[in-house]
């Protein structure tokens, strides 16, 4: 039986990958993901896990090696962060186009420059279009569970796609906290041996990765769209199977005290936990406020989200990345796209906060909530605002 114990989340993630009995790991260490890779290297070196650990020379090589491993029919795991994910960029598209099942954990960290090793979502949000499945964990337990879930989802023959498990750098990755680590036998019951749908085999030769001429590229992209969107059903089914077995339930869109909420906060990642504590305090004061967030970022669970926010008068969307000179943050942009033209759509008040490791504290939530209430009271909807910035965002440009 799984035992509840205190441990560093990065170590727990490495142990979870080990419990999944992965065959191949190709990864390059980068802060704040380093402890995951270090611990996996140790587990393999100690003989606790019979796997091939490939110490590559870069993240570009790491993901390329992972594609080779998955193509050979190996259960494949990797981990990265920030600049490392950016260096993988061009290879990410290839892994998904080749339909390679693999799991990559990403300790979310800001992209340079200026050089910054701390947490925000600029690494993940610039990789939205690569055709991978993407899920967010908010704490250590979720990160462990989602690593196990991710292997099962990725290898499902109805899915066959690589998947990223996002968890916030440092504030989750380096946290010592209580969690329950499923043991190998339990995981084995949930996650049987990997059966590749196709693989490189000299007795049954195939060619992977041919050129896609203009006559076929559009069809290939339609396959990507159908595959990523079509993974929704198997994902929900796998979440349910996991919940039945382990008692921890996951949904594509998660809500917290959202019943009868007039204003809902929209958050991603671990700030959702701080937001819950803030919501509790507001509810105690009689404020009708709740919380909603995307567990599943790709495929975007559009209908679940619409249902979750139905009845809300306003959404306070907190992005942790934005496109300079653009309309706002990526999460709010996608929400607007989803809700545009919907009858009784809530007002959307957009904020960008928590960049490059800056904490989002209670008074920040207060400020964003206050501005959202002002909109409901008749104030014009402001353009997206970078709060927490000294000097102020609007009126200064």
């Amino acid at each position: 039986m799984a035992q509840r114990k205190g441990m560093e989340v990065s170590i727990a993630i490495a142990e979870a990958a080990s419990a999944c009995d992965v065959d191949c790991i190709a990864a390059y260490p980068i802060t704040p993901q380093t402890h995951v890779v270090e611990h996996l290297a140790e587990i393999v070196a100690e003989g606790e896990l019979d796997a091939e650990f490939i110490p590559v020379e870069s993240e570009h090589a790491a993901l390329s090696a992972c594609i080779g491993c998955a193509a050979a029919g190996a259960r494949t795991f990797t981990a990265t962060s920030s600049q490392g994910l950016a260096l993988m960029h061009e290879v990410l598209f290839i892994a998904s186009a080749l339909r390679m099942p693999m799991v990559m954990v990403v300790a979310n960290r800001a992209l340079s420059g200026p050089i910054n090793i701390w947490n925000d979502h600029s690494d993940v949000m610039t990789e939205r279009d690569v055709g991978w499945l993407q899920v967010f964990a908010e704490n250590g337990q979720e990160a462990v569970d989602l690593v196990i879930l991710a292997h099962k989802i990725s290898e499902d023959h109805r899915v066959l796609l690589p998947i990223m498990v996002h968890f916030d750098g440092f504030i989750v990755s380096h946290m010592i906290e209580p969690l329950s680590l499923p043991d190998r036998d339990e995981v084995k019951k949930f996650l049987p041996n990997f059966v590749p749908a196709m693989r490189l085999d000299i007795d049954n030769p195939i060619s992977m990765g041919p050129v896609g001429m203009p006559t076929v590229y559009t069809e290939a992209k339609m396959v990507a769209e159908a595959a990523v969107r079509g993974s929704y059903g198997p994902i929900v089914e796998t979440f349910k199977g996991f919940g039945d077995m382990f008692g921890r339930h996951y949904r594509p869109v998660e809500t917290y005290r959202s019943e009868d909420a007039e204003i809902m906060m929209v958050t991603m990642g671990s700030i959702s936990e701080t937001a819950m504590t803030w919501v509790d305090a507001q509810r105690e004061r009689g404020e009708k406020v709740g919380l909603v967030r995307f567990r599943l970022w790709r495929p975007l669970p559009i209908e679940d989200f619409k249902n979750a926010v139905r009845g809300a008068k306003a959404l306070t969307v907190i992005d942790r990345h934005f496109s300079p000179g653009g309309p706002g943050g990526p999460v709010s942009a996608e929400i607007k796209q989803v809700l545009y033209g919907t009858a009784d759509a809530p007002q959307i008040v957009e904020f960008v906060a928590g960049l490059g490791g800056r904490d989002i504290n209670m008074e920040d939530f207060d400020q964003m909530y206050g501005k959202t209430k002002a909109v409901l009271a008749g104030a014009p909807v402001p353009p997206f605002e970078l709060i927490q910035v000294r000097g102020g965002h609007h009126g200064e440009i």
């Binding site: 339909r99 066959l160 196709m198 992977m208 041919p210 076929v216 396959v223």
Partner: protein, 97 residues
């Protein structure tokens, strides 16, 4: 296995667009591209096989009698065989209309 349509519907594409039929590149008759063709003067040929080894297309085979034979359906007329032949028995000649 039958040859896949060059304009398949998206549902007809193999997983990851993998090519599952070994040797299917033979369907591409790349000899159509040729503007020059190699011509052998077999009386000077010493049957060394260098032309066969160096042919980037792999279209020159060695026959039972030891003489080379090019499959002109795939020869692109690159001239590498001519350059590598040390006896000078291969000459590139222009394709006629």
């Amino acid at each position: 296995m039958s040859r896949q349509s060059p304009t398949p519907k998206w549902r007809e594409l193999a997983i990851g667009m993998a090519i599952t039929e070994p040797g299917s590149s033979r369907y591409n008759r790349t000899g159509d591209w040729r503007s020059n063709r190699p011509v052998w003067k077999f009386e000077a040929c010493v049957r060394c096989g260098m032309c066969s080894i160096f042919c980037p297309e792999g279209c020159i085979g060695m026959q039972k009698d030891g003489l080379p034979l090019a499959n002109m359906e795939y020869c692109k007329g690159c001239g590498i065989c001519e350059a590598e032949c040390w006896t000078g028995c291969i000459a590139m000649e222009e394709e006629k209309e």
